[in-house]
Each structure stands twice: as C-alpha cells, then as structure tokens.
Assembly symmetry: C3
Homo-oligomer: 140 residues x 3
C-alpha cells in the first residue's frame, strides 16, 4: 500500500470558468504506479470547486453557470463583502455548496468514470487565478 501526492497548476478565468481536468488526474494515477485504490482530487481554497459533468459546451458554458447564477448570483450584496470590502461572496457560497474535493475509485490504473463523465474544476472567484490542484492517490 502506497500514498502518492501529485499536483498540477491551472490558469483560470473568473466567474465560473469550468476546466476539464480528467486527463491530469488520470495521468497522475498512471504515473503513481499504484494499480488499485482511490484518488482524492481537491483545491486548497474557498472559491473553487471540484465535481463531474459531461464536458460539452451546452452544460459547461451555459447550463451550469445559469444554475449557479440562479441560486447564488454574483451581483448581490453579501454580508461577506462588508467583512473584507471585497466582492467574491458568491464565489465563496458556490464553493461551499459544490465543495472543494471529490474522491474516485480506480482499477488497473484507470479512474472509474462514465463514458461521458469528466472531472472538472470550477473557478468561482471574481479574479484570474493560478490554482494548484492536489491529487492524493492511495492504493496498492
């Protein structure tokens, strides 16, 4: 049984930039030399999120953004803005709801996902960011 931590960087755009990170996660698992186990994918921060979706333009350029904008609009006066005089309250709330990590199984060095299912990072902040994604792999 072994633990291997891999990281990679993302340059992101603000306001719900959604990036397909399946390839980077699969590469990390392949390079770890661990055959079977689980892989935890996370961002260190409170204005990003990790989930999965079918990575096609309708969902990732329109539908997910519209869903999040409906329940947590960017242009609203959040109490968070009074604390620090910034304006990324919506980014924090979206990150809280979608969450900053997800864990997947893998077998024979292949992450188990559906054919039309990709792992995504969501940039929910109001600024361009450089993000470190952590891929913690445990197995044997």
């Amino acid at each position: 049984m072994t633990v291997v931590l891999k990281t990679f960087q993302l340059s992101t755009k603000p306001y719900c930039d959604i990036i397909d990170i399946t390839h980077q996660v699969q590469t990390a698992v392949s390079e770890s030399k661990i055959k079977d186990g689980i892989v935890n994918v996370s961002v260190a921060g409170s204005t990003g999120a990790i989930s999965t979706t079918e990575y096609e333009p309708g969902l990732v350029k329109h539908d997910i953004e519209n869903l999040l904008e409906n329940i947590i609009p960017y242009n609203k006066n959040y109490a968070h803005h009074k604390t620090w005089h910034d304006h990324n309250g919506a980014g924090h709330l979206r990150s809280f709801l979608v969450k900053t990590s997800q864990t997947f199984p893998f077998q024979n060095r292949q992450v188990i996902l559906g054919t039309w299912q990709q792992i995504i990072f969501l940039e929910l902040d109001e600024k361009t960011r450089s993000r470190t994604i952590y891929v913690q792999i445990i197995g044997e």
Copy 2:
C-alpha cells in the same frame, strides 16, 4: 492494508428514482474482510448521484424531488439539449450538484452511519437505466 472493489447492479426508473443502497454497501464491506477503513461509493456516469438521507416516503418520494425540481426543473430548455438533441439536461445538472460519489468510514466491519441515515442512489436521467454501483473499500 488491502483494497477490495465490489460492484452491484441497479435497475432504475427515470426522473428522480431514489434507491436505498445501504444494505449492498454494508454487505460489500462485510465480505471484503477488511476490519477498519473507508468505503467510496460511486456511480460511473453523469446523470446519477450518491448521497444520504432518512429513507422514508415523505423525503424520498416527495421532498427531495420537490427540492431538485424547484432548483433544476426537468421541463426547461437547457443548452445541453441543443448539443445532442436529447432532453436530459436537468439530469446532468442534478448529478453535477449532488455529485456522483461519497466516502464513508467503517469500523469493525460496520459502516458508520446514523440510525436514521441511509446511503441512496438517485436516478436523475429521463430513461430507465441499468446502473453499476462501485464500492471501493480500503483499510486493514
């Protein structure tokens, strides 16, 4: 330390069929012969989800469906529908939000859950499906 992957099948109904899978997950943990560890429960696909709830008819036949229908209605024109000319945009969005996996601790071969807490699979697609649920167990 050992890794054991178990799978089981579900025949599901469309539009928010919610199935109690606690027994199958607990059986997988018991059969793995691993005493203490964590168990990752996931569906491979982008129109299903895993979470927990008290499995009683009010919540699983009415309240959860109403909640999801309020924030992500099935009968709406999603951009996803234009991509593939199908109609399961709501299923994708619900799966993105609730997520396709959850990880639980177990001790002495017992999954640690509350007395009124069951592990559930949610079929969010618009068609009857046959689903494979993956139960990845790691521990010693």
Copy 3:
C-alpha cells in the same frame, strides 16, 4: 499503511449553527502519527453536514444561512413532517444536499487547505444536539 479513527464531540445550536472544526481535524491527523494520506470527516446522522468555507461572520452568520433558507426554507410544510409528526424536513433536505462527509489530503501531518479555508460542521436540525464527528485517517 495504517488506519486511525478519532472522534470528537460538539454541542450545537439548532437552525444552521456553523462550527469551525479545522483545529480538531488537524489535531486528530497530528496525533495519528500518520505522515501522508487522506482524512475523511463525517457526521453520523441525516440532519448535519460537513463542508468548507472561509470562517468569517459574514459568511457563517448570514450568507450561508440565507442561501440555504432561500432554497430550503425551515418554515414550510414538508411531506417528511407527516411521516413522523416532527418539523425537521428542511434539516434533512439541507443535509442531503450539502452532504454528511468530505475527504481531504494531508502531507507531512498537515491537512491541505487554503489559507482562508476552514472545515465546518453545520447543525441543520431544529433542536440542540450533541454530535459525534468521525475523523478516519488513512495513510503511511
């Protein structure tokens, strides 16, 4: 490779009490003597939840509560109330949506989180509760 289960208790207030549990989780990891791995944080129950946020009063006293109240109001007639003649349907639905567990990586005995990111427990029930939080640590 080792598995260590730690628990701690919380005395909570009803209706969206949000408690910073980062210190307890980090202490559990430090005391486990495991250097690198993952830590699964969970509550056994169906009216609590685990997530992360920047723990500052604007978000934890106002914005998160307002978000959850907007999509899952406490003062509503849920079908769950007819089953048991209680009134915590909103607590169940919030717990279902935010989920009862989250898994984090750690390296050199440090849980990997952002500078302004704290692990939180959410009490979503309508009563004062004593909660056991489970911290399952796996690694080497």
